[in-house]
Chain length 709, copies 2
Amino acid sequence: MEPGDAARPGFGRAARAPPRRLLLPPLLLSLLLGRGLRVAAAASASSGAAAEDSSAMEELATEKEAEESHRQDSVSLLTFILLLTLTILTIWLFKHRRVRFLHETGLAMIYGLIVGVILRYGTPATSGRDKSLSCTQEDRAFSTLLVNVSGKFFEYTLKGEISPGKINSVEQNDMLRKVTFDPEVFFNILLPPIIFHAGYSLKKRHFFRNLGSILAYAFLGTAVSCFIIGNLMYGVVKLMKIMGQLSDKFYYTDCLFFGAIISATDPVTVLAIFNELHADVDLYALLFGESVLNDAVAIVLSSSIVAYQPAGLNTHAFDAAAFFKSVGIFLGIFSGSFTMGAVTGVVTALVTKFTKLHCFPLLETALFFLMSWSTFLLAEACGFTGVVAVLFCGITQAHYTYNNLSVESRSRTKQLFEVLHFLAENFIFSYMGLALFTFQKHVFSPVFIIGAFVAIFLGRAAHIYPLSFFLNLGRRHKIGWNFQHMMMFSGLRGAMAFALAIRDTASYARQMMFTTTLLIVFFTVWIIGGGTTPMLSWLNIRVGVDPDQDPPPNNDSFQVLQGDGPDSARGNRTKQESAWIFRLWYSFDHNYLKPILTHSGPPLTTTLPAWCGLLARCLTSPQVYDNQEPLREEDSDFILTEGDLTLTYGDSTVTANGSSGSHTGSTSLEGSRRTKSSSEEVLERDLGVGDQKVSSRGTRLVFPLEDNA
Amino acid sequence: MEPGDAARPGFGRAARAPPRRLLLPPLLLSLLLGRGLRVAAAASASSGAAAEDSSAMEELATEKEAEESHRQDSVSLLTFILLLTLTILTIWLFKHRRVRFLHETGLAMIYGLIVGVILRYGTPATSGRDKSLSCTQEDRAFSTLLVNVSGKFFEYTLKGEISPGKINSVEQNDMLRKVTFDPEVFFNILLPPIIFHAGYSLKKRHFFRNLGSILAYAFLGTAVSCFIIGNLMYGVVKLMKIMGQLSDKFYYTDCLFFGAIISATDPVTVLAIFNELHADVDLYALLFGESVLNDAVAIVLSSSIVAYQPAGLNTHAFDAAAFFKSVGIFLGIFSGSFTMGAVTGVVTALVTKFTKLHCFPLLETALFFLMSWSTFLLAEACGFTGVVAVLFCGITQAHYTYNNLSVESRSRTKQLFEVLHFLAENFIFSYMGLALFTFQKHVFSPVFIIGAFVAIFLGRAAHIYPLSFFLNLGRRHKIGWNFQHMMMFSGLRGAMAFALAIRDTASYARQMMFTTTLLIVFFTVWIIGGGTTPMLSWLNIRVGVDPDQDPPPNNDSFQVLQGDGPDSARGNRTKQESAWIFRLWYSFDHNYLKPILTHSGPPLTTTLPAWCGLLARCLTSPQVYDNQEPLREEDSDFILTEGDLTLTYGDSTVTANGSSGSHTGSTSLEGSRRTKSSSEEVLERDLGVGDQKVSSRGTRLVFPLEDNA
């Protein structure tokens, strides 16, 4: 069952990068058009005089074709929707019967695959209805063409270049063409809601507590992984050249590009199982945070690699200037997109704070949606990356705006983006399944594929283990071996790698990368995704943890090095040990940003210097004075790596026979102490210094092999 | 300030119906494309050898253009989003300050207008960047063209025909072109959520109680209105011909078409004020029901008129065969679309009933969304009208599926469609404002416009007053004069009329219709919308009514003809007077459809004949046996025209000084009697026969001119 049968290496040779800007996304597009044409052409036909009968007839014919085409588009889109419906029903069945070996995304891929097979082998290859006409011109290809047909002028737009060998096969299989989307649909329509939702659901203090490690994994890790995979693949490509298996150019930059796109991990399957089993929250935060941020890094990294263009004739030698330009582009795009996202988030927070919009949840939700969307457009308009901007906008919205929203809007916005994310994600995965058989330019090279599998394994290992080692030097709350193995194992590839790979399939090298990426996604989602539950059990990772509570001070997963001293002393030590940069950020955020952007935090009149008195009074919301006492717990995210470890905790013992006992030790905070507003004091309180009653209990956790409940 | 300055009548002459199927919706589309191209072309450039340098440079140039274009698209869409954001903030301000003379849609139009003026007069008219190349061919225009440029082949697609005079002005003002959407965007993207939401929020027993009248207004009324407006406009056109003001053909069918599109009322402004002031629920039901259904009627009617094509040379004489064919098309499309919508709704109801999907609100919401969307596609794929199908799907979903959803999914689906509806509606209205100045083919004819205003006034009068008279012959619960005046007054035109008018602007007649429709929408939304509150007061229409309660038996609005006999006797009479067709439907719905499709109603085992025992047991949900006692009030919609008039009621007296007193007389239903399941008994109960304690109070309502609260 070789998916690329019709697309052997030699085939792709002549397909050069077409100006894809002008390729239509046939399905979505023609859905926008098509219909109603009946009205148009018929009307024109009826308004024409008898002399114009023949032209009216012609238009009617075109009309009929258009209508037929619109009908086919509806059928194609309907196919996708029924596919998703089927997926939803099967997911329900799986969830209902507690089947965990196959995630919804894997399921969507399987259904997509089945439909792809049917479309490929079940439908007759219809030859293009449109007769093509050749006319010769001398100059370069224009994007607009005017054609004079017996006195009437028609406007044509450039669709792309066609390799000479393919001229007769244009539109050979209409149905396969119909179900092929323009790759930019993924970047401009489907990825933004997925990424925004990821950012918007990052509001977990466990994320901020592990922020340092997450940033290290995301930035350093992705760079290391990209570099290692790129180099290994270059070796594979050299080998293929020696073996004579390579029929076209494959440069070092191509290999690095492959390294960048395949470094975007997407452990959606693993995280879904973590969520369901309530697995360890710190591991969840590490994995989720890494995967969210490394998507952004991978996008920007891949564009930077593409932007690497040495001067001179030899465009593939190393050029320091071009290299630094690429690094500059990386930093520029990343920081620009970050700024765009943060600024829109901040503006939304200010708008929701200073208007009483929360009386009208519908308006509030609509505003929130529009502002978040405008981030994407703003970033694209400024030449930055919309998807990255949307991610940081989501994080900012969750951190600030969310607090200003009415209770109804909070759930509305969450649910809205949840649905959009769900639909978009499953759509992408079912499209992946479909693409394996319907994509027309597969280049299936076994050596490259095997090499890629080895390379991504080594790339992930070379990034997780050494980085964890160095991070553990700094972390008091160490990342245990079982956590490292689990992170290593969770290197699934998903929507982002696919979207990056399908974005450009013009050259032979890119086609090979696309096919390989597709197979890697399939393998990792099905095999690794399915192996998550046994792996969790095998690695002795705690499950059944209440995500709002902290892990016990010492358990199997975390290797706390020092002895169990009195907790108050440890709290003090924690405070001193936490990195100064986070303490700085925390106090800045708590003293200035939170009060300016939300209704919480200490009044600015107390935190700002006296000479800013007027400004402070304007910016401080009146609610702060009232609410000062019951400082909302949800707002006080802890950004220290291990600060509030001893504040409250709870864990459960789950044994193999499925019986579970949950023990929760909660600590009551004495509200009466909550009057001072200095950040140091709040920090101390957050860290559990002082008046906490702490009980500590060591637990032995055995993973349930089968949930009998 | 003549908006059509640059588009004088003569101008439109040569613009013949282009095969609009192939016109791009520039904004949406190029957002899908564009970006990432940087990656594509740059990659191709870097993979090319030195010999290919020139072609790479060429591609880079195309690339730069594409990128620039994508950036412009983002800016354009951003403009719309900022416009909507501004609208939302201003709406909030208006709601906050209780300003009622301007509705959000009117506001959106104003902002659109301002941006339109800026775009039109503020931006320089850039000449097209793309050099155009003419090459002559002999045959008809193909939709695909292959062009040989020095050995390389490029594929072009047909974009449309261009009038010879315009060849040099193609892409004259890039910015104006950018903000022009393909008309089909309205039908395929923006209208479906609006219409679905209307259908989904129709679940009001007042709607079903007035169903007969609503159907009469929607079907007969729209047909009458269309015919009268069409004939009056034909007179106007004849007059214009005599005056020499008509520069191109304008047939009788065109006039009828105009009558059809302009008969779609959209009293969104009026209904919003009704909602806010809690105006009379029956009047609300009549207006809302009429406007929802007459949209559907107007769409199908307009396509039927377009489909009217007499045989023979004289294509504009009356032809009985063609006429009956048109009637057949009307009935076919309408009933087909209705069936599609109802069937998808029923399937969704069955799926949600027989799976335990309600344990997973996200899955349930996603399924609901996908199924509702698939209605649209299914109808389009079968050649029916998607928008009409979506309407009936919404009604079915509200009537059956809604009862099977979990509590969370109910609010989720409602909120999801509420947001989509809100965004789509305000987008359309702000686009209308924009189109007045940016649309390039306005034909501004004062005589036609004045004639149209008179015609729509007369058309509405000729439909409301006579129909109300005939309906009042049958209704016991008469539609009073003040209600009739209010309905006459509420004949606003909105999104649907606009969408139908912009769908085809190829011929001179259609362009004139479009300009006129736009002005009618502006006038009605601003002037009539703003006059709603004074009009309500002037007509003495009750406000401050609890929508869940019934009007008092006799007040100013309803002219109950017979004397005030004992209520139980009246109830009995009511029961006998109600139309047999509704009684039939009610008992069928209550005994069979509700139990089959939802968890409510009597068990099928009691309503179906004994020989269907097995089937009945399979279809009846176990909950029915448990829930039989507390029959949910929300499920028992009353489809009788005036049945439960005396069940409960409440009204409030609002006086001009702003003080309001609300008196509610509630009637407790004795649950203990609710054991029998025969539909007759339920009907009797619903009608308030028997054990109701009714107190009646005549009230005098004075509308508050200013809300001081």
